[in-house]
């Protein structure tokens, strides 16, 4: 048995032992009030992070050296593969991605441990114990049912390599960022669980700040991961969509929705001390949903069209289900026991207040998450109840999200104008006049430029209304922070402004994303055409001329590249080159779409099969406004970074 494999697997065994030791040491330290046992537990968590890193490094080395004896290396690399995709093979397969997930949990736990060293509280040992338990669980999965270091009896000459569809920057970036998001949520989870165990129901402002910082960071990574995944689907997978409501995709949205609700709810607790119960339950729920998302992706319990059809329950599914069951039951029990301490002294009284709006947000986002969960589980449920597998198609999600999305836009528009406890309708109404004009102008423009359903016009007008209010608020914030004269006051104003600024940017980003979604789905145009060389076709206001097909022979594939001239009126604006390439290693075609992006729309061309007479089939699609989705995504990440950027100590004390 080669030493590296022994080292890798051995590291995982050590993780298991160390994590269990840490958990027990922390609990013992808490029980006997002996800080040195807690210190030992902390050291243990630093050790597990290093050990996970060692295991991952071992696997990475095996991949890079193409040791095809190892089943994982055989399944995900080949001799001729480029190095970047060999590295990304670390998370291409189930076992490797779970190891990466675990590594990130180890890393954030170590960070949390290092950061908290000086701030010992009653709950701290339980935070350590929870983080250690989570890591032990991951080690258990990696040692038993998801072992990346399995060795085969014979060493094949070459590996299977990676699917051409996965040879894309998206594959390199999307899974790690997503796992980083999931892993980072383990810290709020541990904090919340620890506070429940200890009966700590009134966290200090400092503790809430820490919780907030971890939660926003996790949300940042999760948002980035989801956006990159959507972008990858759009550019690589060829059907012009960025979201197909496939269970694996939808499952990643669940922690995101709960995470968004949590961020708002946490803000309300910071300002008013409200929603203690929500904020105790949500971080636990979010992490459980992250584990659930892994279950959907890797468990074989839920059928995903994009990832295989037959229901093939993997052993890991039972472990993941077990984890979910134990955590949910324990948390439920603890929440019930602590319900008196978690009850709020104050409830949102007025409907027209930010407090009420936060409550509505919580309910709304959890409702959306519930609807998605129903969609994911429906085939399994329907099989149990009626004996038939029934899937819910796109329409289901569109129907739920469209109106509730509109409510979200309304909330974004109005919420920043509301006072925390109460507001006067009159003062709010006064702010509406300019945005209302903007909305009307948008409605008029939409009606003039596109023939579409009244709901679409209404949606865009609503978004314009909300955007106008949000931009107005942004300008207010920027104006307010510039003119503070006193040193201390200016610093604190900027600090407070950073958070509001970031938040308003994120709201604006959501509106931009909404524009992208509405435009690209409601206003899109698609045409299927067969063209011979020299023939033209028209879609919306574009004219396309098929110029010819070029055939190139490369070592890995035979390329067929079509040249399409794009005209707007008489002016030639672009040449698109969609491809349909035959890959020898998989004995199949792989298409590469060609896209021309402008702020107004995307022109998206797919090359189809050739006809008998030299003509070629094309699918031409125009997706209006879709680029705003990606712009919105970038603004979202920027806004979140601004909101979470660490403050200097003197700024904080001046606040």
């Amino acid at each position: 048995m080669p030493p590296l494999i022994v080292a890798g697997y051995g590291a995982l065994i050590l993780v298991m032992c160390t994590a269990l030791y840490s958990a027990l040491a922390a609990l013992w330290g808490a029980r006997r009030a002996q800080p040195r046992w807690v210190r030992r537990a902390e050291r243990g968590l630093i050790a597990t992070a290093i050990l996970f890193a060692l295991a991952a490094a071992a696997l990475l080395y095996l991949l890079l050296s193409r040791d095809f004896r190892v089943k994982y290396v055989y399944a995900h690399t080949s001799a001729a593969q480029s190095p970047i995709y060999v590295i990304s093979a670390l998370w291409a397969g189930q076992e490797g991605s779970l190891l990466l997930w675990a590594l990130f949990v180890g890393a954030v736990s170590a960070m949390a441990t290092a950061a908290q060293r000086e701030r010992g509280t009653a709950a701290w040992p339980f935070v350590l114990a929870t983080l250690a338990a989570v890591q032990a669980f991951f080690a258990l999965m990696l040692l038993t049912v998801q072992n990346p270091f399995v060795v085969m009896s014979i060493a094949p000459a070459d590996g299977l390599g990676i699917l051409p569809t996965l040879e894309n920057p998206g594959m390199v970036v999307h899974p790690p960022i997503l796992f980083l998001g999931y892993a980072t949520y383990s810290v709020p989870f541990a904090s919340a669980l620890a506070w429940l165990l200890v009966g700590h129901s009134a966290p200090s402002s400092e503790e809430l700040q820490q919780l907030r910082r971890w939660s926003i960071s996790a949300w940042l990574f999760l948002s980035a991961g989801i956006l990159i995944g959507a972008w990858w689907a759009y550019t690589e997978l060829g059907w012009g969509g960025y979201w197909s409501w496939d269970p694996v995709e939808s499952a990643s949205l669940l922690p995101w929705l709960a995470g968004t609700a949590f961020l708002h709810s946490l803000l309300a607790q910071e300002r008013l001390g409200m929603f203690k119960g929500w904020n105790a339950a949500l971080p636990i729920g979010i992490f459980v949903l992250c584990i659930f998302a892994t279950l959907v992706t890797r468990g074989g319990l839920i059928i995903s069209d994009l990832h295989g059809f037959s229901q093939n329950i993997q052993p890991v599914a039972y472990l993941l289900l077990g984890f979910i069951a134990v955590v949910t039951a324990s948390a439920g029990l603890l929440l019930w026991r602590r319900r008196a301490a978690l009850a709020d002294a104050e409830q949102p009284e007025r409907l027209l207040s930010r407090a009420s709006a936060v409550l509505v947000t919580n309910l709304l986002f959890l409702g959306l998450a519930g609807a998605i969960l129903l969609g994911i589980l429906f085939p399994n449920l329907s099989q149990r109840i009626w004996g038939m597998r029934i899937h819910l198609n796109r329409s289901f999600y569109d129907r739920v999200f469209a109106p509730l999305g509109a409510v979200t836009v309304l909330l974004i528009a109005v919420c920043p104008l509301l006072g925390w406890r109460r507001s006067s309708w009159r003062s709010i109404r006064r702010r509406f006049s300019f945005p209302a004009l903007v909305a009307l102008a948008t409605a008029a423009a939409t009606l003039a430029l596109a023939k579409t359903h009244p709901f679409v016009v209404l949606a865009l007008a609503l978004i314009a209304f909300a955007a106008s209010l949000t931009v107005g608020r942004l300008i207010d914030i920027l104006r307010r922070t510039e003119w503070r004269p006193a040193q201390g006051a200016k610093r604190s104003a900027i600090w407070m402004a950073r958070r509001s600024l970031g938040a308003q940017l994120v709201h604006l980003a959501i509106l931009l994303i909404a524009v992208g979604i509405v435009g690209s789905s409601a206003l899109k145009a698609e045409r299927l055409v067969t063209l011979s060389a020299g023939q033209r076709t028209e879609v919306l206001n574009y004219t396309l001329e098929y110029e010819g097909l070029q055939v190139l022979d490369e070592p890995a594939r035979r390329r067929h590249i079509a040249a399409i001239a794009v005209y707007r009126g008489d002016a030639r604006v672009a040449t698109l080159r969609p491809e349909r390439n035959f890959h020898w290693n998989i004995d199949a075609f792989v298409s590469e779409v060609s896209v021309r992006s402008t702020l107004a729309d995307d022109l998206y061309v797919s090359l189809g099969q050739p006809g008998s007479d030299g003509s070629v089939a094309f699918r031409v699609s125009v997706y209006p406004l879709v680029v705003w989705l990606w712009i919105g995504g970038a603004v979202l990440l920027l806004g979140t970074l601004i909101a979470v950027w660490p403050t200097r100590r003197n700024e904080r004390t001046a606040a």
Binding site: A75, A92, G93, Q94, L160, L163, T165, L166, A233, L237, G238, W239, G240, G241, S244, R271, L272, G273, D305, L306, H307, G308, F309, A345, Q347, E349, L359, V360, L363, L364, G367, A371, L374, P379, M388, R389, I390, H391, L392, N393, S395, F396, R399, V400, P403, L404, L528, V529, T530, I586, A588, F589, V590, S591, S606, L607, G608, Q609, G611, A617
Partner: protein
Amino acid sequence: MTSRQPRAHGRSNWRWIAGAAVIVVVILYLVLSSAQGVAVYAMTIHELKAQRPAIYGRGVRVGGIVDGSSILWNADEMTLHFQLVDGAETLDVSYAGIQPDAFGDAAEALVEGRYREDGVFEAGQLLFECPSKYEAPLATREP
């Protein structure tokens, strides 16, 4: 944070519950009102044929293997015709779109659409199983 006398929770709790109820009712309404339109039944070719005529027009998803010899591309209508085979059963499928990458002889496919009364399955989507040796996703869904 001001200290407040604990108020009578009755009124506020009522609001909270009412709000939650409203959202749940709205979602349920949205879901149930479109039940027929959103449900897609998964079945085999055999089950599909056995459930005629009730199954005509309903959203259905059927699996099988593509019979390469039956593939016909109608360039004028831009439709792909082929036969899906499952054991002894065959199904005529018609799909309006360009040929997906994974499409070909002996490809394992799922067709989603409606069974027409003339015996042809009108597919709105073609979904393909990834080649068994690769566990990675191969998404070739054509909307």
